[in-house]
């Protein structure tokens, strides 16, 4: 079930009202049933497979806790292997098999790959990581194994965050299922505000920008400047799509009394790549930090080993996003940025001092933000392209090829004819609804202003303490913008595919 569907608009109030009407002891059961129905709205039969994984990890948790030291590791490994095996088969089998076939063909052997035809279960990468987090925390003794199978199933399947996170930790989410939540005006309206903000980001900005991005990336004859604009738009599309989803998830959970982990914190104001990854998809970044990066040695190791652990962590993170070489390169590129950033930080600082830039902090920070944003955008080209060939083609066109490229702009005097060609190419990609598209782009600015006003706070805290007319102006404006400017073609959220 998509959040941006009529089904969800009916499902959510029914579940929420039912949740507060029934006695506390049955609430977890209602949420579990609701979560099952939510999941089954995609491909119903896959729920059996999810139950199997839940059963394995639930049993493993108890066995790890009850066993002697030498056996605990075995149960942990069984649990991790079975969870990862499922992920591997559904998500990576064809990728590795085709890569092996390509390699064997290159070497002159004939290996015909078997194609695994089952569709990837929705949200598999997310609930897999949430399950792994549970067994690892139990193994490390930081959390007691859950004894109620229903509550554990709800931890994995809690519908607001089932298909695209935020990836929760057991010590944060599980205890909340044992707390009784009452009807609270501030909390419920705060949750609803956050949901509305999420719908705004998804329908008004992300899906509107997607029209231009999809048209530009689908046309291999787009001009370099068009690809550049499309990539910048994609940066905001993916942010509004994913953070919009997260806002709806956090808001929906909040209405019922649950607090989910914050997943985004204005990532595009980051002054470095390290800061970017502290602000983007926080629940995944911290997962990789805690369970991969630190296990590999983290910061407390020699420089070569540190470089290795950073690169491994980011490459796995790339692969987590999708079984495609584009994601591997995207991950590796971000790893490289991190390594390069750390190794050159001393040189850059002294350069800033020598040029006097450090005496103008506003300008210095502005340059840092711009550089970080452009580096992130370069990574998004790999993230968005369908294969490495397309990514290379787009980067070449942006930087080098023709009058519409950066090189072209720097080395040629662009004539009126060229402007007209560029204008035609851009208008073609916008399509017929130019007014709505312009509004969509304007809404990016509106969103950035709101985020600047909010700072670290969530949208649910906006306008608290404002006078009623100002508050209602914002609320009505938001709802009218969604209705009048939103795109309602029920496009799925980008991160659902992972």
């Amino acid at each position: 079930m998509l959040f941006n569907s009529i089904k969800f608009l009916i499902f959510f109030p029914i579940v929420t009202i039912g949740y507060f009407l029934i006695p506390f002891r049955f609430r977890w059961l209602l949420l579990l049933i609701a979560s099952c129905l939510f999941y089954m709205a995609f491909i119903p039969k896959y729920i059996l497979f999810l139950f199997l994984l839940i059963g394995i990890d639930f049993t493993a948790g108890i066995m790890i806790e009850q066993s002697k030291e030498e056996h605990r590791k075995i149960y942990l490994i069984i649990s991790i292997l079975s969870t990862c095996a499922a992920l591997f088969v559904f998500k990576y089998f064809n990728f590795f098999n085709n890569t092996a076939a390509g390699l064997s063909h290159f070497l002159g052997w004939h290996f015909k790959p078997y194609h695994f035809g089952w569709v990837l279960p929705i949200g598999l990468s997310f609930h897999t990581f949430q399950s792994l987090s549970y067994v690892i925390e139990v193994y490390k003794g930081r959390y007691k194994a859950e004894r109620n199978l229903g509550i554990y199933a709800l931890y994995v399947m809690f519908y607001p965050q089932l298909v695209a996170g935020p990836i929760e930790r057991p010590y944060h989410l599980l205890p909340q299922f044992y707390k009784e939540h009452s009807v609270d005006y501030e909390r419920i309206t705060g949750g609803l505000k956050l949901m509305a903000w999420g719908f705004f980001k998804k329908a008004v900005i992300a899906d509107r920008l997607a029209i231009f991005v999809n048209n530009a990336y689908a046309d291999h004859n787009s001009l370099g400047i068009t690809y550049l604009i499309a990539t910048i738009f994609f940066a905001f599309q993916i942010y509004c799509d994913f953070s919009g989803y997260t806002d709806i998830a956090i808001g929906a959970a909040k209405v019922m009394g649950f607090e989910l982990i914050k997943n985004f914190d204005r990532p595009y104001i980051a002054k470095s790549l390290t800061e970017f990854w502290h602000r983007w998809h926080i629940s995944l970044s911290t997962w990789f930090r805690d369970y991969v990066y630190i296990s590999l040695g983290g910061n407390r190791t020699t420089i070569p080993f540190w470089i290795l652990s950073i690169m491994i962590t980011f490459i796995i993170s790339g692969l987590w996003h999708g079984a495609n070489w584009t994601f591997v390169i995207w991950g590796a590129l971000n790893g490289f940025y991190m390594v390069f950033g750390r190794l050159t930080s001393g040189i850059r600082d002294s350069l800033a001092q020598k040029t006097g830039l450090s005496r103008h902090p506003m300008l210095h920070n502005g340059l840092k933000i711009l550089t970080t944003f452009l580096l992130v955008c370069m990574g998004w080209v790999f993230f968005r392209a369908k294969d490495l060939g397309e990514a290379a083609h787009i980067l070449k066109d942006i930087f080098y090829k023709g009058n519409g490229s950066i090189y072209g702009w720097l080395t040629h005097i662009t004539s009126a004819d060229n402007y007209s060609i560029i204008q035609t190419d851009i208008l073609n990609k916008i399509g017929p609804d130019q007014f709505q598209f312009g509004c969509g782009v304007l809404m990016v600015v509106v969103m950035l202003i709101f985020e600047a006003v909010l700072g670290e706070k969530l949208f649910s805290q906006l306008a608290l303490g404002w006078k009623a007319p100002a508050r209602w102006l914002v609320y009505y404006g938001l709802v009218i913008a969604i209705i009048a400017l939103g795109v309602f073609n029920r496009s799925p959220f980008i991160y659902f595919q992972f």
């Binding site: 005006y185 309206t189 689908a218 709505q436 209705i483 009048a484 939103g486 309602f488």
Partner: protein
């Protein structure tokens, strides 16, 4: 309880926005579903039945137009065409000596064909020749859509006539699509755009004897659609781009579709036998796809399904001694990219070429 009341009161403050949206949807009504319903379609039907073409029509219920048109016609045509927008280029251009009426409707399904035929039954009889455009989705129960619901009583009546009392196979949705559109944000956006472009009254259609216009489509008196000059005169590259764009957004009819549905095939079989018992000549027409769609965009699995469906229709035609024309595969009927308007629609000239490939009706 106070908190709950307070929450519901706050939510109720948003109801005026919803009310305003519903009011705009009902009053502006860009697709003529509510206040302008029926009168718009009846007007179009009246002009067509009086022997004139209609220009500047948009967003109308094609099924209702067919229903009203059949009722308003003075007599029966010699030949009718039942199909989708893919068969809207068949008419007097191909059969100049016959009185032809093309009753095709966009996305035409078996449910539509039955409903339209029942209207002819009520008129006094079925025309002597029928060209059926057998699109791949005709035998796919998942793609009947909801448009046929406008003439659902006629469809059910024809099913009864054929001996299928069960209405399960063509199930009308519980909530009418017209009702859901009243609350549709997209419909509201279209309504607002309509007000800006045409004012509250809208831009009405008119009768014309022109057969082609520069910037708008014309519904011809024989039921064909005449696309605008600007649409027809696009370059091969533009056509290819439209084909790719359209196909990726509306290739739904290929989903959930492994093989022809048994129940639907049975109805088609009964319908053909019924028509043959009344001495009606039935011709199957397989409308081709744009080569880019057929060769590039269709995955091998989906292409296989298309081939299977085409073979299924060919076998069916052979068993029932029906003539069959065309092919989903454009190369089999000698068509290239320039012979198409877009992904699904062959040009008028291309369709004429297919029909001229040796058929005497």
């Amino acid at each position: 309880m106070d908190q709950t009341k307070k929450i519901f009161k706050k939510i109720a403050l948003f109801l005026p926005i919803l009310g305003l949206m519903v009011a705009v949807n009902a009053i502006v009504d860009p697709a003529h579903l509510y206040l302008k319903s029926k009168s718009y379609e009846e007007g179009i039907a009246r002009i067509l039945a009086s022997g004139h073409n209609v220009a500047n029509v948009h967003n109308f219920d094609h099924r209702l137009v067919q229903k009203y048109r059949i009722a308003k016609e003075k007599g029966l045509p010699d030949m009718i065409v039942l199909g989708s927008s893919r068969s809207m280029q068949i008419g007097t251009n191909i059969f100049p000596d016959k009185l032809v009426v093309n009753n095709s409707v966009p996305g035409g399904s078996l449910a539509d064909y039955l409903g339209i035929l029942f209207n002819y039954e009520q008129k006094g009889g079925i025309p002597k020749t029928i060209v059926f455009c057998v699109d791949p989705w005709v035998l796919n129960p998942n793609n009947v859509g909801n448009d046929w619901v406008s003439i659902k009583e006629d469809t059910y009546a024809m099913l009864d006539k054929l001996g299928f009392p069960s209405r399960k196979i063509f199930k009308a949705p519980l909530i009418s699509p017209k009702m859901t559109n009243l609350f549709s944000f997209s419909y509201f956006q279209t309504a607002i755009q309509t007000v800006f472009k045409e004012g509250f009254e809208g831009d009405s259609y008119f009768a014309t004897d022109k057969e082609i216009a520069d910037d708008y489509d014309i519904e011809l008196k024989d039921g064909r659609r005449s696309y605008s000059k600007s649409f027809r005169s696009r370059s091969e590259k533009e056509i290819e781009k439209t084909a790719m764009d359209n196909f990726t957004s509306i290739n739904k009819e290929f989903y959930d579709f492994q093989k022809p549905d048994h129940g639907m095939s049975n109805i088609l079989k009964k319908l053909i036998s019924y028509l043959q018992s009344k001495n009606v000549t039935v011709v199957f027409y397989l409308a081709p796809y744009h080569p880019v769609v057929y060769n590039t965009l269709l995955s091998p699995a989906k292409q296989k399904v298309l081939i299977e469906i085409e073979n299924n229709y060919r076998d069916f035609a052979k068993r029932h001694d029906l003539k069959i024309l065309g092919s989903y595969d454009p190369s089999k009927v000698g068509l290239g990219g320039l012979d198409f308007y877009d992904d699904f629609h062959a040009s008028k000239e291309a369709v004429e070429k297919i029909f001229k490939q040796g058929i005497d009706l």
